[in-house]
């Protein structure tokens, strides 16, 4: 896979669910892979950290597949001013 956003999303998912990354495809349904509503909170938290973005609550509710996550994040990254993180994004530790 040559899509760096998709790769990062899949790596984050794999780490949250403690499963191998190669078992996750873009069309994988999150519910079918055992992601419940609490896992979604953790996933979103990790994705916000990984991409330095802030994901709105409404976007979180519409996520169904891995690809939904990837596309949603790309949209947020495109909307962010280039070279700067959105002001509400988390600050790195150091």
């Amino acid at each position: 896979m040559s899509d760096p956003v998709a790769e990062k999303v899949i790596a984050t998912l794999a780490s949250v669910k403690r499963i191998p990354a190669d078992s996750i495809k873009l069309d994988t349904n999150l519910q079918e892979m055992g992601i419940d509503s609490l896992d979604v909170f953790s996933l979103v938290f990790e994705l916000e950290n990984a991409f330095q973005i802030s994901i709105p609550d409404d976007d979180v509710r519409s996520i169904k597949t891995v690809n939904d996550v990837v596309q949603g994040i790309k949209k947020l990254l495109d909307a962010a001013p280039s070279g700067a993180s959105p002001s509400s994004a988390p600050t790195p530790a150091s």
């Binding site: 949250v16 669910k17 403690r18 499963i19 055992g34 609490l38 896992d39 909170f41 953790s42 979103v44 938290f45 916000e48 509400s88 994004a89 988390p90 600050t91 530790a93 150091s94």
Partner: protein, 404 residues
């Protein structure tokens, strides 16, 4: 209808002494302490470095697929111990029984470790947010709730938080619900996991933790040793347990509770003495029938002489014929889980006829003049025993047990 007798038919225990009942009893009955330098937190700048940590507990084994992230360590101990206890009881859970099963858990500080990590993110790391599960991991009822969801038990479920008496209050409440016929079964116990720099610093500030080890009732004792862990017991009406041919470890037969109404940290003699008397009265036991006391025995200068005097006040001349030990010298002081670890120690003592010793005992303190079973376990057939828990805030809870 006369009150029902209450049997302990299952035990699960995760403690510094081991991750199974067998390992725990082996360490208790041989007097092998689990007190060692604390590994999970850097204590090099603290006034104490030793503690009793649960070692080798792999949460991923109990909560695969990342589920471990949803539970603070204290709740992980609750669920692990409850699963083991239920399996041990070999009870068949019908839909009716599931609805008539109480869960009562003790915990003094709940998931404080989870919120401390959140504060670290906010104020140390300067991150603008905390982990989204910080609230459900921190809440003190998380252990009880996770047991309920994990095992599909849907009767009365709650957590009791009375500092170091939490688990005794929890087991006592569950005992009474089963005895009264409110429920047909209960999972009861306590769990605690508070080894974080903030909590250890807070205990350091109380100036009650020993720089060396825990020597209850001994001369030259210097304080308590902090511990962690969880233990759960399955309680059933005695007749129901016998009818299904269950293994019965022993009976809980009495529960007494009082408060000192005196001081946040200094115990009185009267409060604990009244709690012991209340437990005996509730059990219908004469003081002379008690052969063993699992003491609160923290190893602090304050507790041990007062507890010794209270025992003397309740038992009179019989106090000199009693074996009294503090197993905190082996598994440390697990705060809200202490009573649960000690209930297990007490019922196993009755079952096996071996009194666990007070370890690390150096010699007699003139103010502590009972038989503390110093350093070596003792074979003795005992028909009944009590287990004491006395909490900061002056809250006292005593459980009485009978051998079967």
């Amino acid at each position: 209808m006369p009150p029902r007798r209450v049997a302990i038919t299952g035990i699960g225990i995760i403690s510094p002494l081991g991750l199974s009942l067998e390992e725990n009893w082996d360490a208790l009955s041989h007097g092998r302490p689990a007190i060692a330098p604390i590994q999970s937190v850097d204590c090099s700048k603290l006034r104490f470095q030793n503690g009793a940590e649960v070692r080798g507990f792999d949460p991923a084994k109990y909560f695969p697929g990342g589920k471990e992230d949803q539970l603070d360590r204290f709740a992980q101990f609750s669920v692990a111990a409850a699963r083991d206890a239920l399996r041990d009881s070999a009870i068949e859970l019908t839909p009716e029984l599931r609805e008539s099963c109480a869960i009562v858990c003790g915990s003094a500080v709940g998931g404080q470790a989870a919120i401390e990590r959140g504060f670290e993110d906010l104020w140390v790391a300067g991150r603008g947010r905390v982990h989204p599960l910080t609230i459900p991991k921190t809440m003190a009822n998380a252990g009880a709730s996770h047991i309920s969801m994990d095992l599909g038990l849907s009767g009365p479920t709650y957590t009791v938080s009375t500092a170091c008496s939490s688990a005794n209050h929890a087991v006592g409440q569950a005992f009474r619900m089963v005895r009264n016929g409110d429920v047909e079964m209960a999972v009861a116990g306590g769990s605690e996991a508070f080894f974080t720099i903030g909590m250890l610093r807070s205990w350091e500030a109380m100036r009650v933790v020993a720089p060396d080890t825990c020597r209850p009732f001994s001369k030259d004792r210097r304080g308590m040793i902090l511990g962690e862990g969880g233990a759960m017991v399955i309680l059933e009406p005695f007749e129901a347990a016998r009818a299904r041919g269950a293994k019965i470890y022993g009976e809980i037969c009495g529960f007494g509770m009082t408060s000192d109404a005196h001081h946040l940290t200094q115990p009185t003699m009267e409060g604990p003495a009244r709690a012991m008397r209340a437990a005996l009265r509730d059990a219908g036991l004469a003081p002379e029938e008690i052969g063993y006391i699992n003491a609160h025995g923290t190893g602090t200068p304050g507790n041990d002489p007062v507890e010794s005097r209270a025992i003397r006040a309740v038992f009179g001349a019989h106090a000199d014929k009693l074996g009294v030990s503090s197993t905190k010298s082996l598994h440390g002081h697990a705060l809200g889980a202490a009573g649960a670890l000690e209930a297990v120690a007490t019922v196993m003592t009755l079952r096996h006829g071996i009194l666990p010793p007070t370890a690390n005992y150096l010699g007699r303190d003139p103010e502590c003049d009972l038989d503390y079973i110093p350093n070596e376990p003792r074979a003795a057939k005992v028909g009944a025993a009590i287990s004491n828990s006395f909490a900061f805030g002056g809250l006292n809870a005593v459980l009485a047990f009978r051998a079967v």
